[in-house]
Symmetry: C2
Subunit: 553 residues, 2 copies
């Protein structure tokens, strides 16, 4: 029996006591900040002291709306370790979402970055009931009419550093909202124990593997599931950390990698595609970089290959959700696969990979029965584990469809191959159910985006009298490209059976996106869902601005 | 909030579901067993089913007395996952200890290896009140008069494989006894949560770092704090495992490393010194081996150097206790130290190192105040964390001196340097208090054992009228060596102040050992503690078979 609870305190202790000279580096509008874990620790304790003077008590929620900076990182430890709850708020959500999220969480104090985040909060100020105070994460207060605003540096300067209190491991320590394409954002709470467990798991080589010798650059926004919890794992390991500040472009990232000798970083594919393009035309030494963990969506395999061939950097696919505290699986070839040829290895590496330690999964078919792991059969992915939430905050109606007997129903349609590699083939709501079979909209999209003339492609299912649903492809061609629907279908036909081919190919100026940057298929379905489709899959009816191609199933 | 408890189940799931083809290799008296995690999992489920048929229920304790084999490993998961408690019993303890331990724990069933372990249990059978049944971990029952003995293979053969029940993370899952040099052995219990947390921590690169690509050979006996919990971490990671069976000699270990391509192993220094000697005279390819983790006592730095120079193997010092579930710190140079010269790096590497993630420590002096981390000041090491026990089983009187405000008082005297590296300098009960200063008996012993003619050396404190205590060295010279007390003192004088020099040098035929192989200082103190000592430290009085050397402080 142990009397010590699982909390974030020992991670703070380890970073500040065993690695007091290690650096935390942060990029701000006025230049770079370099300081040590020792200074970080002193400032985090003072931040907690200042929040306490403001009346923040254990159990209260403190919201943050900010970029990836050292001040934001101080809040990452200060708020949970004083017994309060760190609520990281997406800084680029629409106003209504921000309003809903802040009110729903009942945030009492907000730490807000200057610029856009501050402007958003200022604009919404009268709509907030519970927020008492704003702290601007800067050394001055922006021009404002609000009278309850302090700047972070003054706020912290004279505060008494807090000695961390003993905490229960069941104390909620974090809170994040997940925004679907429909409906209100849903909040989840992470306890101290969950954050301890997830950070420890992330640090194992079976997940990301974070070591003292790593230099970790956090490109995943700190409001995206706590930057995938890497800031906590990095502190635990005593790794040097780099916070690239607001909207880092490819040049900034390249420079930071070179100057700070970054070894490990993580983010969505777009960031790395931009970096790759930048490196084509510019000299930058990124030889320190060993691994990029990619999640959010899949990195095109061409990008993975180019990083490996041209820069000796390994791209590792990961999968996770807000409900799994981010990282839930990572894809790497197993030992025995090292002898495989490259194409075979890439086939594994482009999947979502092997479930992380501590978790368990199953695939459940339409009939509620488990689906075999044969690389073919698809089912909804169910996961469970100490890092998986068991409920949404304050949303009993959302819980009913999402949790079942201790399992989280992820809403993802997946296949698992004989080697245990997980591959997401679609969202439950996006999969196209055609004549009793499933067509993966994501697989078609990925295939389409491999076409040289396609910039983006979204595939939706539209109602069909005979086949129940049929695919329609919405394509944004590259500028200057001359692409026809026939070209598109011929291209797909090389790899897919005829009944998978879209019944319509629609060319759009831009694929609409949700607030988190995902394809907004709801809008596409609203727009193109009532197209009159042919009676045969792969059929040939025309619509305005559309192109079909006849094909029998 | 998560509804999933921290238990060993997901580790079993990960090994058997994601790595079903990975091998577990085991050496028995009749040869090698090679099988997969899939078969391992099936047999573990059947073992649980068989134990259940025998009436073992959640909360019951099942003892094991055995070597490092696949059958023992099956019990490692089967017993905790059925909700019972795995009580691993040291197979080489004196009869009275075994009797006490089995009775104190209330074991209902014992799994026992044939040979010596079975003979011990058979001999003690009439002294056990609670044990109902013996299962011999073999495919036949040894010749015996006992009628409640089954062999493991028959026991398991027809059993129904168990579906693991849901368990509370607070369910006790493991139990180990720690045997001091005095008094009764003391039991500690590990909950499911503690075993989950420790195995996860051990797998991080900040501790041992266990990856899927590792081949882990378990040389630490499975009755020594569950082989330092590595069997659980290895399953979680999906690593291949090698169990070297009863009493593996250096030749066996060398052969297993070569044949199974072992990358990581762990054990006490003696084992590796023997292996090094063996490799001097025999051809064996141990090139797969990357790391040996050494604990229990310190590996001589000469051994560390030779492994590195001659075999490209890194020896890593680790420290831990039964009360910390084994591994609590590991010594590796930090990133910045890689540029240091080798001697400086070795100075760090021969310490106990950096506390493992999740733990916290402090040094407490005689006056109850914290002692600074300056590489000089010594204090008793206090540790806490989710992998540190908070009490002894059923021993309130032992708890009083060992636990304080949530901290474990380790009984170790330690120094921490400016870089945060922990170094144990003595046991509280062995440190020699001379004239208000502390003399480390361990440091003198290690220094003495660097002498070419010294095989083993123990240093004890004996009562002294003026100085309170003074050191006496008990030395077992190497065979054929001609060593005098003068030689010994002259040797020490090169490195130590005169007041550290022993007042007596006693030559002994053999340094007496405790049941766990540590120097039995109690016996030495009983024997040599009343020697008439000189009145001056480093003084010059003679005793029978002893040799003193005059020196003023």
């Amino acid at each position: 029996m142990s009397s010590t609870e699982l909390t974030l305190r020992p991670f703070f202790w380890r970073a500040t006591k065993l690695f007091p000279e290690k650096e935390v580096v942060s990029r701000g509008p006025d230049g770079m900040t370099h300081y040590t874990y020792r200074e970080f620790g002193e400032r985090a304790r003072k931040l907690a002291g200042a929040l306490s003077s403001l009346g923040v008590e254990p159990g209260d929620r403190v919201g943050t709306v900010g970029w990836n900076t050292h001040r934001h990182y101080e809040a990452y430890f200060a708020i949970p370790l004083m017994g309060a709850q760190l609520h990281t708020i997406n800084a680029v959500l629409p106003d209504d979402h921000v309003e809903y999220i802040v009110e729903d969480a009942g945030d009492e104090v907000l730490l807000v970055d200057p610029g856009e985040p501050f402007e958003t909060i200022e604009r919404l100020w009268d709509r907030f009931d519970g927020v008492r105070e704003l702290v601007v994460m800067d050394d001055e207060v922006p021009d404002t009419d609000l009278d309850c605003v302090t700047d972070y540096e003054s706020f912290v300067a004279d505060a008494d550093p807090m000695e961390w209190p003993g905490l229960s491991e069941e104390q909620p320590a974090g809170m994040c909202y997940t925004s679907g394409t429909t409906g209100k954002p849903k909040g989840v709470e992470y306890t101290q124990k969950m954050m301890y467990s997830h950070s420890m798991m992330v640090a194992t080589p079976s997940a990301l593997g974070v070591d003292e010798s790593d230099v970790v650059m956090h490109v995943v926004p700190m409001y995206h599931v706590n930057s995938w919890e890497l800031p906590f794992s990095a502190a635990m390991a005593g790794a040097k950390q780099v916070y690239p500040g607001p909207s880092p472009d490819a040049e900034t990232l390249a420079r930071l990698i070179e100057e700070e000798e970054v070894t490990l970083t993580a983010g969505v594919p777009t960031v790395w595609i931009n970096l790759l393009d930048y490196l084509d035309d510019h000299d930058a030494d990124i030889s320190s970089l060993e691994r990029i963990v990619v999640g959010g969506s899949a990195a095109p395999s061409a990008v993975m290959r180019r990083f490996e061939d041209e820069h000796d950097v390994t791209i590792e696919h990961a999968w996770g959700m807000t409900e799994t505290m981010s990282i839930g699986s990572v894809s790497r070839p197993k030992t025995g696969m090292r002898e495989w040829d490259r194409a075979e290895r890439f086939e594994k590496r482009t999947k979502q990979g092997l479930l992380s330690p501590g978790m368990e999964m199953k695939l459940v078919g339409d009939d509620g029965e488990e689906v075999p792991w044969d690389g073919e059969a698809a089912g909804e992915l169910y996961v469970r584990g100490p890092t998986v939430v068991s409920e949404y905050y304050n949303r009993p109606e959302a819980n009913r469809g999402s949790f079942e007997d201790g399992w989280l129903k992820t809403g993802d349609i997946a296949v698992v191959d004989e080697d245990g590699y997980l591959e997401l083939v679609d969202r439950v709501k996006d999969v196209i159910k055609s004549g009793g079979e499933w067509i993966s909209s994501i697989e078609l999209e990925n295939a389409l985006m491999e076409h040289d003339d396609v910039l983006e492609a979204a595939v939706i299912g539209v109602p069909h009298e005979r086949w129940q649903e049929r695919p329609v492809a919405c394509i944004q061609p590259k500028p200057e490209a001359s692409l026809t629907g026939d070209d598109v279908l011929a291209f797909l036909e090389e790899s897919y059976p005829r009944w998978w081919l879209p019944d319509n190919v629609v060319f759009v100026e831009e694929v609409p996106k949700t607030a988190t940057g995902k394809f907004d298929k709801k809008r596409l379905r609203d727009q193109y869902g009532d197209a009159d489709l042919p009676h045969t899959p792969g059929g040939s009816e025309k619509a305005d601005g559309e192109r079909n191609d006849g094909a029998d199933r």
